[in-house]
């Protein structure tokens, strides 16, 4: 074979996402698009109170309402199902369980109390209004610090609001280092509560068929296989009779990495009524009944020498986890602990993560999950330290970077960073922003009374989640490659993309390896009846872990194809080369046998090679040996109007290193979305509760998901430092934008206002907080 005949290179190419034409022309199929004959609709009656005792439930009027088929009450559901599952169980953790419906005491606004099943959604909603629930209001605790200091108890039986305390690092060494440090900065840093806001709220359709006894569940989920196992237990249907399908899913950001009461209720109702039962969440419900993210207060102490060398870092983190644990709730703040060290050499480090119950919506994984918090604390800390030392924040960072030659690097938190070149990303970012010129321009404009600022964030995150030892239900991934009889290729993967583009990137890998056109490869995911096993999509793991399972299966296909080819060509398999869909004898590429020809041999099976089974299909399970650690430098340039407190984000530069890149267009897309969310944490988004535990920012009117016109045109660049953890050399990029960007914004705003004496402003940086900070720095109230 000559090089001219080679099919085009696909890996590394900016190929447009193949799923998009379907998704943007209304050809997608989401749960709510599915309407099997006889579908019933489920609507939930939820607690309006943050904490109350249910003293009476009268469903008689609802039962008799038009179209109502069934009404589920707490007592009934508690007898017929298992509790809502909690997978992340930490040592010494309190774990109050709840069922899909709560009877005795409700503990957050939005907690499900009664479920109505009716012929259509509107009749169900009308009937829900007829349910009379009597509540005796109880005192609620909303503030986590107050919850720790003897506020009302969320769970009386525990006698405390403390869920668990997890220490990390060497507390004594850190204490000694900070006591002996020449300079110490201390700061309380809030990482406010956020609402994930996928464009498609949660949706589930359960269909129990009494004949075969099967339960099919279509769910807008990130984890179809885990949901199958857990739902089988919760709804008491044997697992082999449960099939879960994640059809097109309109985003998740971690909030669909869970098992929710409504999934259990739909399954129970369908089993009882022997009809399909659908639940589709309204946006209003989504705000209180789907998990929230972040909500951590960090009390940071960072010690250094006068020359800027870090000597010790200590932090106490108070995580407000809301009223209950969800699937991974308790584990999320421990990711903050793992990533405390960031990109720096810190000789002594210790953290204490205190998780606290309050009468709020439970928190769980939200894009970045633990790493944005760790990055925010350390990167704000570095700027506070730079200000204290009168040192340039870039110089301070560089001075403490783990050097490119120091990998693999053991952190104080027990991780092994795989690879990195933090200086390279920083250099590139500095060049793009034009740092020296900016500083002179900044000085010139300050003379004119204009306040510009530049903020840096040099981050490292943890991806490719992960080794199974680090997860409660396995961190491997599975992937199958099947060469069909015609030589067309089906890829089946256990990851469950819902915006990450693996229908494209996985096809790029398979098509290039097998030498077929990308149109000859179909990627199947999200259906447990088609894909035998999997874990799902979260923790920026799909490519690094799921992609590696795919590569392993491609290797097996290649080996088996060689056996068939060797047998047909009467040569040794070892003498054959597999390249671009053709198998040929080394140094004699004129004689080839193609993949469709091999497929025919494999499936007709008339003349099988020795010890070879018919067929051309391979499945692999990949267990990663380590996480991967992407990194980068984010830079924000802002101007602050000191009269109004308004912040104008003028530039945002993002230099990210996610290792080898399969599709740069997808990487860019992931970074764009991540930056929007991370910038929004600094500038726009905050879940605000009143003293009664009511969510005041409870709709898109009051919770500011950023619009395109609130963001600048991003300036993106990459550096490429492959990982040795997996054969693709890819690290993952789904969360990087969210992790790096937030502190860069806050650092930029504080940098702008530094001449006025401002040292810190808590997020989100709404104009009134900015003005308050300016006034406080001037030594007076606004």
């Amino acid at each position: 074979m000559t090089t001219q005949e080679r099919p085009p290179k696909l890996i590394g190419e900016p190929i447009k996402r193949r799923e998009d034409p379907r998704l943007i022309t209304g050809q997608g199929s989401y749960v709510d698009d599915l309407q099997p004959l006889g579908t019933l609709h489920l609507v939930i009656v939820r607690s309006p109170y943050a904490h109350a005792r249910v003293t009476g439930i009268d469903v008689s009027a609802a039962r008799n309402a038009p179209g109502v088929v069934a009404v589920l009450t707490p007592e009934d559901v508690q007898q017929s199902t298992e509790p809502v599952p909690v997978a992340a169980q930490l040592e010494g953790m309190h774990m109050p369980l709840r069922h899909a419906l709560t009877g005795g005491e409700v503990k957050f606004v939005g907690e499900p109390v009664v479920a109505i099943v009716a012929e259509d959604r509107y009749l169900a909603a009308d009937a829900a209004e007829l349910v009379e629930v009597e509540y005796e209001e109880l005192p609620a605790v909303i503030d986590p610090e107050q919850a720790l200091e003897g506020g009302p108890l969320v769970h009386d039986e525990l006698g405390t609001n403390l869920c668990v305390v997890s220490p990390i690092g060497d507390a004594e060494a850190a204490a000694r280092a900070i006591e002996g440090a020449e300079v110490v900065i201390k700061q309380r840093l809030m990482n406010q509560r956020l609402i994930p806001n996928p464009i498609e709220p949660r949706a589930v359709l359960a269909h129990y068929e009494p004949g075969p006894g099967t339960l099919t569940v279509w769910s807008s989920t990130q984890i179809p296989h885990l949901l199958k196992t857990l739902l089988s237990a919760c709804a008491r249907v044997p697992e082999q009779l449960v099939r879960v399908v994640a059809p097109d899913v309109g985003g998740g950001f971690g909030c669909k990495l869970n098992v929710y009461p409504e999934e259990i209720l739909a399954a129970l109702a369908s089993r009882r009524l022997e009809r399909p039962v659908k639940f589709v969440e309204t946006r209003q419900e989504n705000y209180v009944a789907t998990i929230h993210g972040r909500d951590l207060i960090g009390h940071l102490e960072l010690g250094a020498k006068r020359d800027g060398t870090l000597v010790g870092y200590r932090i106490k983190v108070i995580a407000d986890i809301g009223a209950y644990q969800h699937l991974l709730t308790a584990a999320i703040p421990t990711l903050t602990a793992l990533m405390l060290q960031g990109v720096y050499k810190i000789p002594a480090l210790a953290g204490e993560i205190v998780e606290v119950f309050t009468n709020k919506t439970p928190t769980d994984a939200y894009r970045g999950a633990g790493r944005p918090e760790a990055t925010y604390y350390l990167e704000r800390g570095m700027d506070l330290l730079a200000a204290e030392l009168g040192m340039d924040p870039v110089e301070l960072r560089r001075k403490n970077f783990i050097g490119a030659g120091e990998f693999p690097f053991d952190t104080q938190t027990g991780l092994v960073y795989d690879s990195g070149d933090y200086d390279a990303a920083l250099d590139k970012a500095l060049a793009i922003v034009g740092y020296d010129d900016f500083r002179s321009e900044q000085a010139r404009l300050r003379e004119a009374g204009r306040y510009l600022g530049v903020g840096f964030s040099t981050y490292v995150e943890i991806c490719g989640v992960g080794p199974s030892s680090a997860l409660p239900a396995g961190g491997w991934e599975a992937g199958t490659v099947r060469v069909e009889r015609t030589g067309k290729v089906t890829v089946l993967t256990g990851v469950s993309p819902h915006g990450q583009g693996e229908e494209t990137s996985f096809a790029q890998i398979a098509a290039e390896r097998l030498g077929v056109g990308i149109e000859d490869v179909t990627v199947i995911h999200g259906d447990t009846a088609q894909v035998s096993a999997g874990i799902g999509t979260f923790g920026s793991r799909s490519l690094a872990v799921g992609g590696t399972a795919l590569v392993m299966s491609l290797d097996k296909i290649e080996a088996k194809a060689k056996r068939f080819a060797a047998h047909a060509m009467e040569v040794q398999a070892d003498d054959l080369e597999f390249e671009a869909g053709q198998v040929f004898v080394k140094d004699a590429p004129e004689k080839t046998i193609s993949l469709p020809e091999i497929a025919t041999l494999a499936y007709n099976a008339v003349d099988l090679p020795p010890d070879t089974e018919p067929g051309l299909e391979a499945t692999s399970y990949y267990e990663p040996g380590n996480f991967t650690f992407p990194f980068g430098t984010h830079v924000a340039v802002v101007e602050v109007d000191t009269d109004s407190g308004a912040i104008d984000l003028q530039r945002f530069i993002s230099v990210d290193d996610c290792g080898n890149i399969i599709n740069p267009l997808i990487v860019e897309g992931q970074i764009h979305g991540g930056l929007a969310q991370g910038i929004a944490q600094a500038l726009y988004e905050e879940a605000v509760y009143d003293a009664n535990g009511q969510l005041l920012s409870g709709s898109l009117m009051d919770y500011a998901v950023p619009r395109a016109d609130q963001l600048p045109s991003f300036e993106l660049a990459t550096t490429v430092t492959p990982t040795g953890v997996n054969p693709l050399g890819a690290k993952g990029v789904g969360e990087a934008g969210t992790i790096g960007s937030t502190p860069a914004i806050v650092n930029a705003v504080v940098d702008a206002l530094a001449p006025l004496g401002v040292q810190h402003i808590e997020m989100m940086l709404r104009p009134e907080r900015v003005l308050d900070a300016i006034q406080a720095a001037k030594g007076g109230a606004r």
Partner: protein, 153 residues
């Protein structure tokens, strides 16, 4: 959520005072009021249907008047709930004789629970003010009509 406002009507203070405690009058003037029945001394049970945007729905509630200082001042506690959520509030109504008639001044604090608490505080306040405004306009209208029929008879 705080609700503060006033309205001046060209009627004597005693008439306005009486109207505020007359179930028949309140039934006619409270927006969307379907039922209003006395449930004790200075207490009423009410059923109301509200048709304003995000707080649209049927509500059942209790109204209790207390600390009455006729015809000058009363305090009012309101509690109610329906499909869109629940509310609880307390406030003061003061009547002041002025040259133009009577100036009614109200000052109340209300807390909302459930979905209505999430519809947006700006919207909620404006919806509440709209309903209050409607109530006072109707009250004024009814008092006027009453006056006319009295004159006619």
């Amino acid at each position: 959520m705080q609700l503060i406002g006033s309205r001046t009507m060209p009627y004597a203070r005693e008439r306005v005072w009486a109207a505020l405690q007359d179930p028949a009058m309140l039934r006619k003037t409270l927006p969307g009021c379907e039922e209003l029945t006395p449930s004790g001394e200075d207490s009423f049970d009410a059923k109301v249907t509200i048709g304003v945007a995000a707080i649209k729905g049927r509500y059942k509630g209790k109204v209790r008047l207390f600390d009455l200082e006729p015809p000058r001042k009363l305090r009012m506690a309101v509690e109610g709930g329906g499909g869109p959520g629940r509310m609880r509030g307390e406030g003061t109504v003061e009547l002041e004789s002025v040259a133009e008639g009577t100036k009614l001044v109200y000052d109340g604090e209300a807390a909302t629970f459930g979905p209505i608490a999430r519809v947006g505080q700006r919207l909620l306040r404006s919806a509440a003010n709209k309903l209050l405004g409607e109530f006072l306009s109707r009250l004024e209208q009814e008092l006027g009509r009453e006056g006319e029929s009295e004159r006619a008879s």
